[in-house]
Structure formats: C-alpha cells, structure tokens
C-alpha cells in the first residue's frame, strides 16, 4: 500500500489542543456577507423538522420553509431570483423558493426510477437546472435537466460518467458541467448503505451541458480508489477545488483536498499529518473565496474549518468551528462564513497571518445548519 501508516508518527507539527472557542453567542445578529442579501441552507428546526432556512444579511428572524424530508444542497439561478433546495439522497423532492423573501414558490419530484443526490446547478441564462441523480435500477449516475423557465419540466438527462455523482458546478466557460462522481453505489432499498466500497472508482467528469458529451474524465489513482470526490468548487479562472471523503481504514493518512485544471492530473494538496488527522477523513463543503486565492474546506468530524492556499497548494489555516458544514465566500479576500450543525454562522478571515473569527451569529428558531450554505 502506497500510504505509509507510520509516517504520521514522524510528524509532530505544533498543534496546540488547548484553547477552546470564545463563549457567548449573540442572537439573530447581522450576518456579515457584504454585498449579499441572504444566506440559504438546509437546516433542522428546534422541533427536529427539516427545513429550508434563510437569514437576511441585515439580521432578523430566519425565514423557514418546511421540507418533505432532509434537504442538502441549495442552488441559485444567475439572476438571483430563485433558490432551489434539493433532497438529500435518496430523497426525491426539489423545492423552489424566492431568493428575495425566502418563501416557497414551487415543488417538484424526481422522475420514477430516479432519486436526487442533493446538488444542482443552473445554466448561465437561468433557464436550465442540472441535478445529480441515481438511476436506481443500474446504479449509474445521471444528470437530470430541468427547464425552470416554465413549469419546471424535466426535459432531458445524460450520464454523469460515473457512479454516485454528488456535487456539480459550472465551469466559467458557461458550457461545461464539472461533476464529482463520488464512486459509491447506493440503492433506496438499502437506505444509505454503501454497496461497492471494494471496487469504487471516484472520478471527476467534464460534460458539455448542451450535448451531454464527455469532454474530460479524471479518475483517482488506484491506491486512492477509496478516496471519494464529493464536493467541489471552481474559481473564475477555471481551477477546480476538490474536497474528499475517505472510505478506507481510519489509520490511513490520505489527502483531503485536491485541485484540478482541464488537461492536467488531479493534484493533491499538502497538509501536515496532524491536520489531516483532525479532518478525520471527511470534508463537508468546499468553496473559493472572492479572490480565488483561498479555498475554504470544512471538516465537521474534526470540528474544524480549514483554509488552503491556492498558490502553494497547502493547508494554510485551521480554525476550531463546531460541527462545521457549509462554507460561503464573503465580499472580502480571504474571508468565509461557515455554517454549523449547532446553528451558528461563523465569519472568519485571514488577518495578520491567522484565520481569525470576526463574527458569529446564532439564528433563533432552529437547531442546526446542514452541510451546505449559499449566499445570494
């Protein structure tokens, strides 16, 4: 095995596991995402019900839309009018909300023999929505195409060119979908159980959104075939940031973040063994900052948020954030808002060589933010 399980012992990076988070939460404070109106995310309300929640940047109580089940990833159309919330796998609903008010305007369900994987992305003109889905019978990944200009008709579908497609984003060329095929086969009959860990083969696929043709596909190297590519973001200049989830033994030391550019190999980012260990083989969300120089990655099992230096492809900063899930960029360079499963929105930015928490707010009326956030 290429991964040396003993190497970690050689590394003794200076991690101080001493101080804890500052205490004292402010209720329903302002959410400092300058230039944005509202933050959206799937959430859990105080009664344990699944909701689509949104908080206005200026503060105030969150707007809540009850969901038929647990939601996962939000998507916004380029005009900023509509936000779509997709069901977490193996869910079948899609809820459309008004991005200005947070109110629900429509609901759709996935076609027969398909379920959602929880993520979608709009075409640049806002007309089409592309969703990652499972072909339940074959276990193959599918991209569903929905015409959102009218009644939200399902108009086409094409392969994702892999098993278990999860998040997808649109390349800045406006024409190419970039799809993270997690590689893990699941079936609704067996809930969320993973059926093919021994043979899984995650991949990154670039697909023409008009023709469904495969433009480029990158697989994980053999020795990392259990390193699932789940989440990704793309910068203005087409650099793709990748966040992984490892399905192998927990004693392995494996990369947690990678980068990719069209025509090149997947490049794994560096971090100390200590940081990798704290990430606990599991990233929840990934997002570039406004400048594209920094990549934010959350690791809820380790209760940390990390920021990676795009120029050096290394982990630059780590901040303790409890049950960190969603990440969105703010209008400042090197600054992010992280959502937590405990109901916080934590704003942090790189300042004087540290990732510093600059603000936190706790919205009333619900228990926690789910994996992903979206700022509109």
């Amino acid at each position: 095995m290429a991964i040396d399980r003993r190497r970690f012992l050689l590394s003794s990076a200076g991690i101080t596991a001493a101080s804890c988070l500052p205490v004292g939460l402010s209720w329903a404070g302002e959410v400092p995402v300058g230039g944005r109106r509202r933050i959206f995310g799937a959430a859990l309300d105080s009664e344990g019900r699944y909701i689509l929640a949104s908080v206005a940047a200026g503060g105030g109580d969150p707007v809540i839309v009850p969901l038929p089940g647990r939601g996962h990833g939000p998507a916004v159309d380029p005009t900023g009018r509509w936000v779509v919330m997709l069901a977490r796998r193996p869910g079948t609903f899609m809820v459309v909300a008004d991005a200005g008010t947070g109110a629900m305007v429509a609901q759709h369900i996935s076609p027969a023999r398909r379920h959602f994987f929880g993520h979608g992305v709009f075409s640049p003109d806002g007309r089409f929505l592309y969703t990652t889905e499972n072909d339940i019978e074959t276990g193959k990944g599918v991209i569903g195409v929905w015409d959102m200009s009218g009644a939200g008709d399902r108009v086409a579908e094409f392969p994702s060119y892999g098993i278990g497609p999860h998040q997808l984003v649109l390349h800045p060329d406006g024409e190419t979908l970039i799809i993270a095929n997690g590689g893990i086969e699941t079936h609704p009959d067996t809930g969320r159980r993973k059926l093919n860990i021994a043979t899984m083969q995650p991949s990154l696929a670039y697909v023409d959104r008009r023709t469904g043709a495969l433009a480029e596909k990158r697989q994980m190297p053999d020795e990392l075939h259990k390193l699932s590519i789940r989440h990704l973001d793309v910068s203005q200049d087409g650099l793709v940031g990748l966040a992984f989830q490892y399905q192998g033994p927990r004693t392995d030391t494996v990369p947690m973040v990678g980068f990719h550019r069209r025509g090149e190999d997947i490049e794994f980012a560096q971090a100390s063994a200590n940081i990798l260990r704290h990430m606990k083989h599991y990233c929840a969300s990934v997002g570039f900052d406004r400048s594209g120089r920094w990549l934010g990655v959350t690791a809820p099992r380790g209760n940390i948020a990390t920021v990676w230096d795009v120029a050096t492809r290394t982990c630059g900063y780590v901040l303790g954030v409890p049950d960190a899930g969603g990440v969105v960029a703010t209008d400042r360079d090197g600054a992010f808002v992280f959502g937590t499963g405990t109901g916080l929105l934590v704003t942090a930015e790189i300042r004087d060589g540290r990732l510093t928490e600059t603000h936190r707010s706790a919205a009333s009326g619900f228990r926690g933010w789910d994996n992903h956030l979206l700022a509109v």
Partner: protein, 372 residues
C-alpha cells in the same frame, strides 16, 4: 498517474473543540469504558473467531483428503462454527477489520449482482493452481475469499456430489475450499493479534493522544463503540431481516437474506443481537459494557431499562421465529413476529442515537454524522 501523498510539516496552531457531556453529570470515564469493552468484549470475540477459523482450516484440510459424504458434513459444521463466531463480532467495523478489505474478504454481502457466484465460477473453471498461492489468493477478488463463497461450495445443490467426485475439477474445488479456510484463518489471526494488549490497534484504541493516528481523545473511541451498537442494529433491521421480509408476503424475497443457502439467515441475526446485548450489558462479570457507565448517571436506570429490555425483547421474539427464512417471510404469523422485531429495533435506534449518546456526552454532530 501516481498519487503524491504529502506529509509535510506545516506549523499551524488551532483549537480543538471536544464534546462535553450534555447533561451536567459526573464526567464519563471514556478511557475506562473503552478499555473494558476492548478487553472483555472485542478481544475475546476476535480470539474466538481466530480459534474457529484455525480449527476450520484443519478440518477442511483433512476432509479434503478423504472427500467422503461424512467429511463434507464436518466441513459444513466447521463453516457454521466460524460463521457463528463471525456473527458474534461482526458489529465491530473499526480497527483491523478495516485494513486490507478484511470485512468484505470475510463476508461480501449484500451481493445483489451475485458477484460471488460469478467470480467463484470463474475461479473454479480456470483450475489454475497458481491462483491458490496464499499470497495471490489473499489479493484476488474479495468475493471469492470469504464465507459466501464457502457457503456455495458447501451448500449448493451439487455441493455434495462435487465434493466426493474423483475428478480433477472436484479436486481443485476442494483445494479452493481449503484455501478459503486457510485464508480466513490468516485474517482471523491478524485481527486477534491487533487487538491484543500489545497489539497495534489495541494501543491506538486505548491510548488516545495528540499523536495517535485515529483517536485524539478517549470519547472519540467511545463514539466508535456507540456507532457499532447503532449500526449493528440497523444492519440486522434493514439488511438482514427487512430486505428479505419486503412490504408484504407476496413481495417477500427470501433470497435477499444473508446465508440463505445454508439456512442460517435467522440464526445469524440472532447471534448479532446477542452480541449487541453483550456490547451493551457486558460480557461476564468483570466487563460492564455500556450499562455500567449508564447506571452511574442520573436518569440512567430508565434508559438502561429501555435499551436492555428492548434489545432482549427483540432477541427473544427472534428466537421463536421459524429458522427457515423462506418459510418465515411468507407465513403470516412468522411475518408478524419479524415485524415486531423490526419495530422494536426501530424504536431502540432512536433511543440509542439520541438518549444513549446524550447521557454519554457523545457529540453526534448533525454534519459530522451526515455522510454526504
């Protein structure tokens, strides 16, 4: 393309948030709990599996020399002994079991595409002696290395005829059986060794530290034990009983059951439940399991009654279920019993997930446990 795994020194300091008990009780002694379960539950069960697999390898070796109708009976008995011991420790899915695909090499299941049969047929057809070299075999398809492949070799309709036949094909088939058995014995021995008090994983599990590769704090190891209890129940409920049961007698699918060929689907689930009760309530007098810790906390008695009685009730109902799963999933009375077991486990799942985790102060984060 080669992976570049970087383990560089990156000097960053950050704060670690660790879970604290949600109720203001006496502190939970995670380290003691982990050690008692490792010593009293996990290690003896892996040792029993190691012994059973070793004995079985010898039985198979001897029986294959004789190849009589009686000797296939001995091998079948050995298969049951090993599979019982496996079902008694199957709920532990962390530690050495995660290494080298051991879980799947022991039991590749569920197998909805019948990969086991396909790969096994290919192996048997090739009659390639080199494929049975110990090292080669340990790296071949996981589907042919484990108990499901053995079960086909020993319990398929033609198994007995193929066992006693004096042909090169039958000879090779028996060598495959002995190789699987010997390979399982190797896996069993390696796992028991890793859980010995001086073994590699025992140290990792019982000595959490900043430089520990898996557990920074003791509560993280307890979280894995809690996860074993929870997912052990889910597997019995969803996969082992729920899937074959189906929505109605008409839609029952007995061949979705585990080890239906050898008629041990219900028995396997019963062994699993018994093991989960032991993980919760303790194995023998010196090892308390979760229960001892739970009873030290306010409200612990009620919770203990719910969990212990609930698990025991599920196991008791299952004892009365017809052992032949093909009959059990079709007969209305048997179905009713199975549904009761499922309902009981379903109810307990919520209690174990929230109340048991709560009293133990295990932070089951919304995002941390999501898996998406």
């Amino acid at each position: 393309m080669r992976a570049r795994i970087w383990v560089a020194i990156c000097l960053v300091s950050f704060a670690i948030v660790s879970a604290t008990p949600v109720s203001a009780q006496d502190a939970v002694d995670y380290a003691r709990l982990n050690k008692s379960i490792a010593d009293g539950h996990i290690l003896p069960r892996y040792q029993a599996l190691a012994t059973a697999t070793r004995d079985f390898a010898q039985t198979a070796e001897g029986a294959c020399r004789r190849r009589s109708a009686e000797s296939i009976g001995e091998v079948r008995g050995g298969f049951h002994a090993v599979t019982d011991r496996w079902a008694a420790i199957q709920h532990i899915r962390f530690g050495p079991i995660e290494d080298e695909d051991r879980y799947l090499r022991i039991e590749f299941w569920p197998d909805k595409k019948n990969i086991v049969s396909r790969h096994l047929s290919r192996l048997l057809a090739a009659q390639d002696a080199a494929a049975l070299d110990p090292k080669t075999f340990a790296e071949t398809s996981v589907a042919v290395q484990g108990l499901p492949a053995l079960e086909r070799l020993l319990f398929d309709d033609d198994a007995e005829a193929a066992f006693v036949a004096k042909t090169p094909a039958a000879d090779y088939r028996c060598r495959v059986t002995t190789r699987i058995a010997a390979n399982l014995a190797d896996i069993g021995a390696d796992m028991a060794a890793a859980w010995q008090p001086n073994g590699i994983f025992y140290k990792i599990f019982t000595e959490p530290a900043a430089e520990n590769p898996v557990y920074l704090t003791a509560d993280e190891a307890t979280l894995d034990l809690h996860g074993a209890l929870l997912s052990g129940m889910e597997i019995v409920r969803d996969l082992k009983l729920g899937r074959p049961l189906g929505a109605s007698a008409k839609r029952a699918r007995p061949r979705r059951a585990e080890f239906w060929r050898s008629g041990r689907a219900v028995r396997g689930a019963a062994f699993n439940l018994k093991a989960l009760i032991a993980l919760y309530a303790g194995d023998g007098e010196n090892h308390g399991g979760f229960r001892e810790e739970i009873l030290r906390h306010g409200g612990g008695e009620d919770l203990d009654a719910t969990v212990y009685q609930g698990l025991t009730l599920a196991a008791d109902i299952l004892k009365d279920v017809e052992p032949d799963i093909a009959v059990a999933v079709k007969d209305p009375d048997e179905r009713r019993r199975l549904l009761l077991v499922l309902a009981q486990l379903d109810f307990l799942k919520g209690t174990i997930r929230s109340d048991l985790a709560g009293i133990l102060g295990l932070g089951l984060g919304f995002n941390a446990t999501d898996g998406d």
